[in-house]
């Protein structure tokens, strides 16, 4: 299935801003995070269709996943 992945802030470095990629049906958000070599402990918001989702969320054909890093400064 074809998915659009959007990365934010430091997650773009050495990767991409936005990319359309092919994934196996049933792929979860967590599997995509791991494939992109994103450190799980630095994950902030995970967004599909303007909503925050869990790592276990199964993606569907044509969806867009946006991945934000954890922001904690003041």
């Amino acid at each position: 299935m074809k998915l659009t992945i959007k990365l934010f802030a430091t997650f773009r470095q050495g990767r991409f801003d936005i990319a359309e990629r092919e994934f196996a049906p049933g792929t979860t958000v967590g599997q995509i995070v791991d494939q992109l070599d994103l450190p799980r402990e630095k994950l902030g918001i995970l967004m599909v269709n303007s909503r925050h989702v869990q790592l276990e969320r199964v993606m569907a054909e044509g969806e867009t996943l946006a991945i934000f890093p954890l922001v904690g400064g003041g």
């Binding site: 934010f8 802030a9 918001i45 909503r51 890093p69 922001v71 904690g72 400064g73 003041g74």
Partner: protein, 271 residues
């Protein structure tokens, strides 16, 4: 009192000097005088540019409000400044730290003469200069589970302006226990986020679900001058809406800012 105000006001606007004379004549503190003036239907002249968006009863409501600001650094300095200029009557400013040279690039309260001095005390000095009618309680300590219930007794809401995820989660849990709204803001380099947590919500637990200790990306990016000013302003807008029970809040939504690309997203946190 009403006679004095009628004789010295211009319409319903009371000039700064007349406000001070009113306090002296009736032996009131600056804060108490402001309360009387607003209650009697007069507006201190300093608030005249507020009045097209805040009614006199709303200005009085702000005067009667108490906001606790956890952290007097990058976010907290601007939050306190704006709350004081708005006329929020009581601000509890908490920070255990002193100013260091690396604060000078962005923290409003950090000035060369304040290096080595407590941040909370600097907040008190600043607010005394900006708006003497605002009572600022300076606490040189972090807001924590053990001191929170006592310190927050008179607070109507808490602003999260701290710099660690552990402290944010502790404040989130404290506010839930104390049934207080919490306005969260966090920054890292060009990026920032704001959300409002109402009692019962578990928004911070959702946002920081993957956190396993340590800092976020601010550890690698640092923070410039403009990101804290912007995120703090958004937090104050949320705080004012909570105090006045008006507008739409960022409840169960997080607003994220990317100032490098100038993109703003609002993300629903409820599935």
């Amino acid at each position: 009192m009403r006679d004095f105000l009628q004789n010295n006001a211009c319409g319903d606007l009371l000039g700064n000097e007349a406000q001070q004379q009113f306090a002296m004549k009736f032996e009131l503190s600056a804060a108490a005088a402001e309360g009387e003036i607003l209650t009697l239907g007069f507006l201190p002249a300093r608030y005249q540019r507020n009045r097209k968006m805040l009614s006199l009863p709303q200005q009085l409501k702000l005067h009667q409000s108490c906001v606790a600001v956890a952290g007097c650094g990058g976010l907290g300095g601007y939050v306190i400044e704006e709350l004081a200029r708005l006329g929020v009557g009581k601000i509890i400013a908490l920070d255990p730290d002193i100013f260091e040279a690396h604060n000078l690039n962005r923290q409003l309260l950090a000035t060369s003469d304040q290096l080595g001095k407590p941040k909370a005390e600097a907040a008190a000095q600043r607010v005394a200069l900006v708006n003497p009618a605002v009572e600022l309680i300076a606490i040189q300590a972090a807001l924590e589970t053990n001191n929170g219930p006592q310190l927050l007794k008179t607070a109507h809401l808490v602003v999260d302006a701290v710099d660690s995820v552990a402290a944010r989660l502790e404040i989130g849990s404290l506010c839930r226990q104390q049934n207080l709204p919490l306005v969260h803001g966090a920054i890292a380099g060009w990026y920032g986020q704001v959300t409002t947590v109402l009692p019962g919500d578990r928004t911070l637990e959702t946002l920081y679900r993957h956190w396993q200790g340590g800092k976020g990306i601010e550890a690698e990016l640092g923070n410039p001058a403009f990101t804290p000013a912007l995120v703090a302003s958004l937090q104050v807008a949320e705080a004012v809406k909570i105090l006045l029970a008006t507008g739409d809040l960022l409840q169960n939504r997080v607003l994220t800012l990317d100032l490098l690309r100038m993109s703003v997203e609002t993300i629903d946190l409820i599935n």
